[in-house]
Point group: C2
Chain length 589, copies 2
């Protein structure tokens, strides 16, 4: 029960858009077609029951949790895992986009003046979640519990009151007799595919079995059952009362809000439901901010994703995964103008594809284990489940192809292809770097050090001292010629100085007063003369007291470094020179 | 005559907003008050005549040109130069903002559907000018000539037709008899201050005397006279016909466009004038993209501005000045919502302040030269001119203080203060770096080299070889401990390898899997043990074949470098390691 408030919001919050999405599709065929939401919802609840039973098997089969990627990888092999990984990354991203826009829709229903700012508000919420998660969320189960329970109680209360009270009794026959309006079967399928979004998120408990501290499998299975009961009754109840109150979806007020308004009036319940809906949807979005970076890090460890997803920051969170999720989900929100309905066609494909792989894995795992006489039931259930969920995927792709499903159809193979390319690259780099022969040991070579010298001053002295410390074969003091009189003065001073016999002065002419170009040209020329890895450029960097003073200095150093860092044969050293050799405050961080 | 098309647009284009700005201020007191635009315009033309005569003296006194900064600096001293410099930088910036927004206003007058995109279009034009100037504009006098002449011809034609034709003859008395509407003197002053923007840009010819190739002083003086004649007749003519046709300024259509519409109808003249006005205003804005970077570079050479304004790019333009001008003028346009009227109060202050300094310089120069019996006329003219233009500055500040003039009043001392701080800083750094004692010569010191080592591979081998080449006292191979089993394997391999007796292995524990933090902590600790400048960190950098592969590598190297580059006592070396030692294509750029 305690794990429910962390793992359930993703699924429960789907009630906020499931019924509405069905009604939106059906309303295209006229108000009379809305009756079909009842059988469609019933079928979805049947699907839910089946999925709950199957997922209780999955919990038992994979007691350490792990999402479809881990399950698929360990049971069906890397290809299935990769497919599941791609589907799940898309799922996590869309969970954020869909939940946040649906949450803002609930808020806007209560405060219509916010309508023009839907996109801005949604992006703001994503930015907020990103920052909170980058800072690391501590034990948030308590914080999340209240909105979750309140959402359950309020929706069930609304369903109960809506079913038995107030409205003129609709004849029972109206619920069971098909409406006279004839509706194309394709539209029914489209409505079903939209409604299947109501079940998104039910996989969360099986992914997170270890969240339940003791006796976890038992508790997770019970939680799954509870989740199924609540989700099923809330979703079906909402669909029924939406029919009873003749709710027609519109762009300004969500179906849930319309129901609250009609059943309880425009009072405290209406406003509270708005905030609670927004809260639970934000919690659902927040779930992805844990799931996405974790999956990305697991896949990075398997070398399917860039290693940067393994990096943990000061707050010990996988910061890069959080940032990438925040950016992509924001871009999706902006691209789809903060419109939940427009995002839904993309959503179901990823989710149900991961369901399919989880179910197949279950079947294969039980098959391999052998012996148990009851295993055939589970195998059959897994196979049937995978077919069923695959059917939902296909239905979604076919009926919603032009409405956005094509994006996912394109994205999944692209992501899989990209992951394979990453893997391939890491493998080949590792092969190339491998040192088999341990008799090969480091050997010094004679270095050629280049030091840019503009004039003879204390910084030049320090930098050349550093260059001499490297014991190079040769030091080149590289000077770019200025005006003739400055040049003459410099040469006289240099001769007079007589710094060290190993330091040779090289003067290059500057055309059009450019300083960097002639230096780089000379260094490139020099590099060509010596074996790879022998030329080092030592760049002095003036350290100033106050940070604003930085814009006054080091332009040459930065520009030179920027060019040379990409030169494949040149090592670059930056030597700091501190003004006023006062005591240093080098803060160990 | 030939230099006119380059130097005149800045001044001539002011006709596009001069009259309008007067009318906008007066219309606040009702339509009847618009009569006052006639005497105000007359006074401004008197001011113009005086300025033209004075500037012809300035051209003679400063035959090599140079703006108010150079003139002020060389005649009145650095403080006056600095004040003029600050005023001119503001002037150049506002010339861009005002001209571009006024140009877009002309365009929008012809195509009202563009009205909502005023700010976007203006910023686009600034971006275009920035890019064109960054690429370097070649000999553009020819290109600029057509719109300039066309603008002169069209405005004068419109004035001529408007004066003598078509409209019901307004009684002559109406022009000379003050209107019955009583207007507060303050409003008259405010209108005058707005109208003084009509003379902005007349200094351009005296700044650019050398543009006239041969006999430059003679030609520049003639050009000044011509400019005065055209500007005066166009401005006064526009004001008179605006009164004759009872033009009332509005936010959608400019006064010039209203006049064209009334006098020639909504035909080709109307549309052509719109484009020509936009073109000459863009050319005026473009003038600043030459002037601002050049002034910034002159002031940077005098060490009043950051040295980065001296840097020239591949195209030999002062790129930083161009970029800074583009950014600041865009920000002004955005802040003032692309509204020319809102920017005008800021404009006059800077321009007339630079006039004042130029006039004072003229007086002082002639005074110092002595002897010439006629010099008293010029000295008097300079003194009177400086008082007159100072009066315009004071009028603008007082009457427009709350409307934006306060920004300039605040900005000028701030900029002067900033320039003094920059100067002070450069002076003190130069003092500190100065090497008086040439017996001090570079001396080597014993280095301590730290090399991060994750595993023993070919890159490690190469990096340690490089470290050995530096002939250090000590090499520390710094390793961050991983899991116990990986740790044991690494240690066994390391022992087996036995790389070099000078290389010591240092293993640091990692808390929470962070790699960078323990390394930095160890390096900081080590730095504390040795004298400044002895510790060097050598970071290997993996070079990949394709640029997309960069996101797969070097996160550790980049992160470590980013931290250490700010460590004041540590030198950092980046050593490239190339995969596949294939032939290098190091492109000399
Ligand atoms: K969901
Ligand atoms: K989900
Ligand atoms: K390099
Ligand atoms: K101007
Ligand atoms: K100007
Ligand atoms: K450093």
């Amino acid at each position: 029960w305690e794990g429910l408030s962390v793992l359930a919001p993703d699924a429960l919050s789907s009630v906020a858009y499931g019924t509405e999405e069905i009604l939106i599709v059906l309303s295209a065929a006229g108000v009379g077609a809305l009756w079909y939401s009842l059988p469609i919802s019933a079928v979805i609840v049947l699907l839910l029951i089946f999925l709950v039973v199957s997922y209780r098997q999955i919990i038992r089969a994979y007691p350490t949790g792990g999402g479809a990627y881990v399950i698929g990888r360990d049971t069906l092999g890397p290809s299935a895992g990769l497919l599941a990984g791609a589907a799940l990354l898309i799922d996590y991203t869309l969970t954020v986009s869909v939940s946040v826009t649906a949450g803002i829709a609930a808020l806007v229903s209560a405060f219509p003046s916010l309508l023009p700012y839907t996109v801005e508000l949604s992006v703001l919420v994503v930015a907020f979640l990103t920052i909170v998660n980058l800072r690391g969320v501590r034990e948030s189960a308590q914080l999340f519990a209240a909105p979750t329970y309140l959402f359950i109680v309020m929706i069930l209360a609304m369903v109960a009151v809506g079913l038995f009270h107030r409205a003129a009794p609709t004849p029972l026959a109206a619920y069971v007799t098909p409406t006279a309006v004839s509706v194309a079967p394709l539209l029914i399928l489209r409505a079903f595919s939209s409604g299947s979004s109501a079940l998104t998120g039910i996989e969360a408990i099986s992914n997170g079995v270890p969240v339940f501290k003791e006796d976890s499998v038992q508790r997770a299975r019970r939680a799954m059952l509870l989740l199924g009961l609540f989700l099923g009754s809330m979703f079906l109840g909402t669909s029924i009362i939406a029919f009873r109150y003749h709710i027609v979806p519109n762009a300004e007020v969500t179906v849930l809000q319309q129901l609250a308004d009609r059943i309880f009036g425009h009072g405290w319940f209406f406003y509270l439901l708005s905030f609670v809906t927004m809260a639970i949807l934000s919690i659902a979005a927040n779930t992805s901010f844990a799931g996405f970076p974790q999956l990305a890090s697991i896949m990075a460890r398997d070398e399917w994703m860039p290693r940067m997803f393994l990096a943990r920051g000061d707050r010990l969170v996988y910061q890069n995964g959080i940032i990438v999720l925040g950016i992509i989900s924001s871009l999706l929100i902006i691209a789809f103008r903060g419109n939940t309905d427009a995002l839904i066609p993309l959503y179901a494909v990823g989710v149900y594809m991961s369901f399919t792989i989880a179910m197949s894995s279950l079947a294969k795992k039980r098959w391999q284990e052998g012996n148990d006489p009851h295993r055939w039931v589970t195998i059959g259930m897994g196979l049937f489940g995978s077919l069923l969920t695959a059917a939902v995927v296909i239905t979604s792709v076919v009926t919603k192809f032009t409405e956005g499903a094509w994006i996912v159809v394109l994205a999944i193979p692209t992501i899989v292809w990209g992951m394979r390319a990453v893997h391939q690259h890491y493998r080949s780099v590792a092969d190339e770097l491998r040192l088999e022969d341990l008799t090969l040991v480091p050997k010094p070579k004679a270095l050629v050090v280049v030091v840019p010298v503009a004039s003879i001053n204390k910084m030049t002295l320090a930098t050349l001292s550093y260059a001499l410390s490297m014991n190079p074969e040769e030091i080149v003091a590289l000077h770019v010629a200025g005006t003739p009189e400055r040049e003459a003065r410099f040469h006289a001073r240099w001769k007079n100085w007589n710094a060290d016999p190993r330091i040779k002065l090289a003067v290059v002419e500057s055309q059009y007063r450019s300083v960097i170009r002639p230096m780089v040209r000379y260094i490139d020329h020099l590099t060509g003369l010596f074996a790879e890895g022998r030329v080092v450029v030592v760049i002095p960097e003036l350290l100033v007291e106050k940070s604003w003073q930085n814009i006054l200095h080091n332009h040459m150093a930065v520009a030179l470094e920027a060019v040379l860092i990409f030169r494949r044969r040149i090592a670059v050293t930056v030597v700091p020179y501190r003004l006023q050799q006062k005591p240093v405050n080098s803060k160990p961080s």
